[in-house]
């Protein structure tokens, strides 16, 4: 069993999924945010699903309706975080489960790339320094065969 699967996961062919008020409202908000992203590539915002009173069934219908896209990333950050593109490019489903598979965090992010996927410039700088130091310390190992 995929420990990070969610009930209701599915492909993007769920246009027939019945929508109630809450799910429809979230979808309309996603649509509006996608329009803003289309106009402004730097747009980056999210809907915090933890703050909404959506029951498991509504959440599953929302997930089915948004479907799956091309990208599915797993982040190992003191626990497992999953970032999955929906069938609507630019809309991402981001969630984090604890060790007991309870969802701690769940958002729909609308952005070209979710901030959690991007590497922070200071981490890049630190990585560059570290690799340079390692190569300097062991020059013989860096020669091209």
């Amino acid at each position: 069993m995929d420990l990070l699967s969610h009930p209701g996961d599915g492909t993007a062919d769920a246009a027939d999924t019945p929508l109630d008020g809450a799910v429809a409202a979230v979808l309309r908000e996603v649509a509006a945010m996608l329009q803003r992203l289309a106009r402004d590539p730097a747009f980056d915002d999210a809907i915090d699903l933890m703050s909404l009173q959506l029951d498991d069934d509504a959440r599953a219908r929302l997930r089915r309706r948004l479907g799956r896209g091309e990208v599915d990333a797993t982040l190992d950050l003191g626990g497992c975080t999953r970032i999955r593109e929906t069938a609507y490019a630019g809309a991402w489903w981001v969630w984090r489960d604890d060790a007991d598979e309870r969802t701690q965090f769940e958002q729909i992010v609308v952005a070209r790339v979710p901030a959690l996927l991007r590497t922070h410039p200071e981490d890049v700088a630190a990585a560059a320094r570290r690799l340079a130091v390692e190569l300097d310390a062991a020059p013989g190992r860096t020669e091209t065969p």
């Binding site: 980056d44 915002d45 999210a46 809907i47 915090d48 933890m50 703050s51 982040l75 950050l77 003191g78 626990g79 975080t81 984090r96 604890d98 060790a99 007991d100 309870r102 701690q104 965090f105 958002q107 992010v109 901030a115 959690l116 590497t119 922070h120 200071e122 981490d123 630190a126």
Partner: protein, 355 residues
Amino acid sequence: MTEPKLLGEVLRERGVSRRAFLMYASCMSSLMALPPSAAAAMAEGLAKARRQSVIWLSFQECTGCIESLTRSFSPSLEDLIFDFISLDYQHALQAASGEAAEDARRHAMRDNKGKYIVVVDGSVPMGDGGVYSTIAGQTNQQMLAETVADAAAVVAVGTCAAFGGLPQAQPNPTGAVPIEQLVAGKPVINIPGCPPLPQAMAGTITQILAFGKLPELDALKRPRAFFGESIHDRCYRRPFYKRGQFAKSFDDEGARKGWCLYELGCKGPVTYNSCATTKWNGGVSFPIQSGHGCIGCSEPGFWDMGGLYRPLASSARPLQRVVPIAAAAGVAVGAGTALLARKRLAGASQQGDKT
């Protein structure tokens, strides 16, 4: 003295990426109902903060508050809070004892003058010269006064520290008082609960660290992010309340069907806390979900509210004149009860909460 490194640098050396900061901040922002866009600012603020010195004083308490903080998070990202702070004095956790422990406290006060945060759990006994609780030859009052003198802020965790709690319950044999009554000229934040939610403690300290200012507080100096709504406001059983469907005993049909526990003494309508949304033990449940009414532990004087199992309607509190109507009518009176609760809180604030 060399300025300590920034948290971002310290933790990067230990393999914690800025992405982990952002994930932590995203979880905290979500818990605090901040806009999702606040997470990035919080992460940047944390990375640029320095490790915060915290002196934790324990007075008339049961150690439940520190247990709540240290035992509730599974070993994962949330543990970062213990990397963000330097817990320089805490009876239950520190290895040092006796004079060495007191030296550590005074050393931290000297080195971080004007910058350290004092966290207090437990109330302070004022009766008979404070003899009912002493540490290292000092009464609790003396130790509190000495320690907060150069503090940046004081955080009273648990209902005993925030409002007097159980030690202050009638007849209050030790003359217990809450921390706020003894602290002048310093900002005080109350994080009540018996025990308080660990997320409320960690979230409040995180917010101070990240944004360099106190969180928004309610009339009782509780962070609105965690105490802005009543348990009743966010209770999943509220639809039953609205329909007038109440369990009459803990094993009747209504209880089995998950109906409202109002008539079994639930204090949810007058209790402000986020148990109903954050829940306990990593989000497993909270008392009402487990079949027991809220006992109102984050409110002033909860122990003297007329009995844990007596409905608000029959309590000795001023609510008794109005709430019976709510129980009878069910529909539409929820808002009235909430309004009454808010008025009560405002009244308690004006009176300095003598309840």
